[in-house]
Structures are given as structure tokens and as C-alpha cells.
Symmetry: C2
Subunit: 133 residues, 2 copies
DNA sequence: CATTACGTTTACGTTAACGTAAACTTTGGA
DNA sequence: TCCAAAGTTTACGTTAACGTAAACGTAATG
């Protein structure tokens, strides 16, 4: 469970370059341990990286991804902190829900358009068969 | 139904700048008519603009958005064209589905984390009430 | 008739998110 | 022992997606 990863290992797994991973570190998104000079990535680091990349695929900037990551990593100290954290989580959730609406609309548009294409295609094929008689 | 729009009207409605709209035109995403020098946007142009912005919110580049828009705008000529169009639509659909999976995972992660926060908060509040006796 | 609001083109500037190259160290094999 | 693979830092280059500014046209308005 506590296995570690080299930078090129993670790069291969997530199909990115080591440069990208180092860049994320420079931006404060990951903070691997060092063994001498070399970066040693923990399972948690790997999860963070996955989070960043998932965020990117959804159109978030690295800065936005960092906000969420920092939320996940924040110490859950007193009640007040927990309450403001829950508020912020709700904000982020709202952003995701907005994207979900955009996604549903996009999919619905695409599906109805594809359906019209299929109907048109069926009509053309029917006409073809008629002409073949 | 066939009303038209000025560039600043659309900019206001979609909360972007005229510059952005002109840029999209330069990239081949919109092609408004002209009345002298001035750009006149039709309802279809408006729909296209909305499509682009929705795509952007979902993390697509302008080039990717253009591919979809061009698909929607392509003439549905013969059967062969319709078939390749349906294939391409399926490709794009797959991209959207991938984003949907990412979204579901993100929302699930966030919700379960928020739930843990709420439990921790409840525990703290219970302890507070106990201490108050 | 001058100002204000809106439009235009042209062109250079900016930022995020890396790519790329150079120069160097460390390390496990043949 | 020497080489190749993988790591490091530093630094400059690149691209998408606009921002910003200058210089100009036009139309309505006080």
C-alpha cells in the first residue's frame, strides 16, 4: 500500500511528461519527498496527480485544481474550519454541477442531431431500394 | 425569430468582449453578415456562439469546438456523407462521455469527503454540548 | 456642430501550461 | 571501468486565447 513511484513511472502511467509533473510541483500542486536529489512520489502524490489531470480534462485551470486539492489536504481542525470548508466544497460542487448541465445539453443536442441524420439516411436508403426495382 | 444582434449585444449577453467574438470569427467559428462595415449576427450565429462557449466551459479548445460546429453545419448530402458524419458524431460523443465519467468521479469524491467533514463536525458539536454540562 | 457611443482594422502585449535544449549527477550493468 | 538510463536544474521557446492600444469611420444626440 505504501509503495512509491519515480517520476517517469507516473509520467508513463498518466501519459504525460516528467516536465509536466515537475511543473505541477513548481505550481504547488504536488510535493514529493526527496531521496537525495530524486523525487519520490507516494500513493497520495499519485492521487493528487490524478485529481489534477481529471480537473484539467474538465476544463479547470491548475489554479482551480489547486484550490480543490488544498481543500482536500487542509487539516480539519476546529468546528469553524470545518464549516467554512463545507461552504467552499459547496462552491466547487456548484461549478461541477454547472458543467454537468453543459454536458447534458451537449449530449442531448448531439443525440437529437444524430437521430435526424439517421432518419435522413434511412430515407435515402429507402429511395435507393425503390429506384433499384 | 429572425432578429439580428450587434456584436456588443452578444458580448453583453454572454459576458464576453467584442474582441473575443471577433477572434472566434478569425478562427472560423462564426461568420456574421456585414451591413457596410458592421457585423450583423443572426440567430444561428448566436447559437453557434453559445455552442463554442459551452464547449469551452467543458474544457474543449476552439479547434475542437470548431470540429463539432463544422459537423453541425455540414451539408447532409448523400448517404456516404451521412454515414461518415454519424461516425464522427460518435467520436465526439465518446469524448463527452469520458468527461461525464470524470464528472461523476469528481462529484462522488467531493460528496464523500463532505460527508466525512459533516460527521466530524457533528462529533465536535456533540463533544461541545457534553462539555457544556 | 461637437461630443458620445459604437463600430472597424492593425498590431503588439500577455498569460498559462508546458516543450525543448544544455549541462550536469547518479546508478546499475556488461 | 565505462556506458547508458534516468534523474536533476536552469533557462529560453512556443502556442492558444485573448487583452490592450492606436487610429480611424459613422450615426445619433444635446
Amino acid at each position: 500500500m505504501d509503495r512509491t513511484y519515480s517520476i517517469s513511472e507516473l509520467a508513463r502511467e498518466f501519459d504525460i511528461t516528467p516536465r509536466t509533473i515537475r511543473y505541477y510541483e513548481a505550481e504547488g500542486l504536488i510535493a514529493p519527498l526527496r531521496e537525495g536529489q530524486k523525487r519520490i512520489y507516494s500513493a497520495r502524490d499519485r492521487v493528487r496527480l490524478a485529481l489534477v489531470l481529471r480537473g484539467k480534462r474538465l476544463g479547470f485551470s491548475l489554479a482551480e485544481a489547486k484550490e480543490v486539492i488544498d481543500l482536500y489536504a487542509a487539516p480539519q481542525g476546529e468546528a469553524g474550519q470545518l464549516r467554512t470548508m463545507l461552504e467552499k466544497l459547496d462552491e466547487k460542487r456548484a461549478l461541477l454541477e454547472e458543467k454537468r448541465r453543459d454536458l447534458e445539453i451537449s449530449l442531448a443536442n448531439m443525440d437529437s442531431y444524430a437521430e435526424r441524420c439517421r432518419e435522413r439516411l434511412a430515407a435515402l436508403e429507402a429511395a435507393e431500394r425503390t429506384a433499384a426495382e
